[in-house]
């Protein structure tokens, strides 16, 4: 076993993943949404270079070069942290589509996570919304999942390839329906056999109970 295997040998496992659950899709926001946070940091990091070009002679002439370099390195340290803070928020804001449910994990801030999920059986409608020039050009948008509870919407915001995500959800609903039918068939046939052969007092579990 190599030392850095843990970097490449990790599967899409997550907290609370069931044994018989298969991940169909793992989605982040579009990487373009990260750019508007990263670009200002890069520009800010280069600002001391402009200051040095303008006030270089003054800084060197007064023997303040080392102080200038110290301050610049501290600024870079601070910006490095802010860069990875943004990347961490981006990476820990994700959606997982499995064959049983959809999970959304959002990191609002450090030690402040929100996790919500919806059962695939509860989904009634899936729609895609792509608004704006950048969204159309870069192909990102919002996927809205309407559940049986009418007031509850499950949103995939600013996700890449929204059409593909919609198709995956629809496929997973189909798989779930098939699974439900295959589970129901033996119960229903057993029920009909029991009804015909045994007395009328036999209680046959209804569908809802069978899935508990």
């Amino acid at each position: 076993m190599k030392l850095f295997d843990f970097l490449t040998q990790t599967s899409y496992s997550f907290e609370g993943k069931k044994d018989n659950e298969n991940v169909a899709l793992f989605v982040h926001r579009h990487s373009f949404t990260l750019l508007d946070k990263v670009i200002p940091l890069i520009l800010f990091g280069l600002a001391p270079l402009v200051i040095f070009v303008v006030f270089g002679q003054f800084i060197v002439g007064n023997g303040m070069m080392i102080i200038f370099l110290c301050l610049w390195s501290v600024l870079i340290l601070f910006l490095w942290y802010l860069l990875f803070y943004s990347i961490t928020l981006y990476m820990l804001d994700y959606w997982i589509i499995t064959d049983q449910r959809i999970i959304n994990s959002e990191l609002v801030g450090f030690f402040d996570r929100e996790i919500s999920e919806v059962s695939i059986y509860m989904i009634q409608d899936v729609s895609v919304k792509i608004e704006g020039l950048m969204a159309t050009t870069l192909d990102y948008g919002t996927v809205e999942v309407q559940t049986a509870a009418k007031e509850y919407h499950f949103l995939f915001e600013e996700v890449p390839n929204p059409q593909k995500i919609k198709d995956t959800i629809v496929n997973m609903i189909g798989v779930a329906e098939q699974r439900r039918e295959t589970k129901t068939a033996p119960i229903m046939s057993a029920a009909s056999e029991t009804e015909s052969s045994v007395s009328e007092n036999v209680i046959v579990p209804n569908q809802d109970e069978a899935f508990m």
Partner: protein, 69 residues
């Protein structure tokens, strides 16, 4: 002479404070990425962050050392 020693002491305290706060905050980022990240990407990102942090810390230390010592 006393003034130079004062600057050196002040720079040393500032350096220690910056390093302490940075590595505490860095630990929080590393913890979140490794503990809550799903898949390979967060682990790779945390390794890049750790490597970069060590490098920038060394550079900062070298600059501050010229003031302190």
């Amino acid at each position: 002479m006393d003034q130079i020693q004062g600057i050196q002491t002040y720079a040393g305290i500032v350096y220690l404070f910056i390093m302490f706060v940075f590595w505490l905050a860095a630990f929080v980022i590393l913890y979140h990425l490794i503990r809550f990240g799903v898949g390979n990407e967060p682990k790779k990102v945390s390794a890049i962050f750790l490597g970069g942090s060590i490098l920038i810390s060394i550079i900062t230390t070298l600059f501050f050392a010229q003031i302190i010592f």
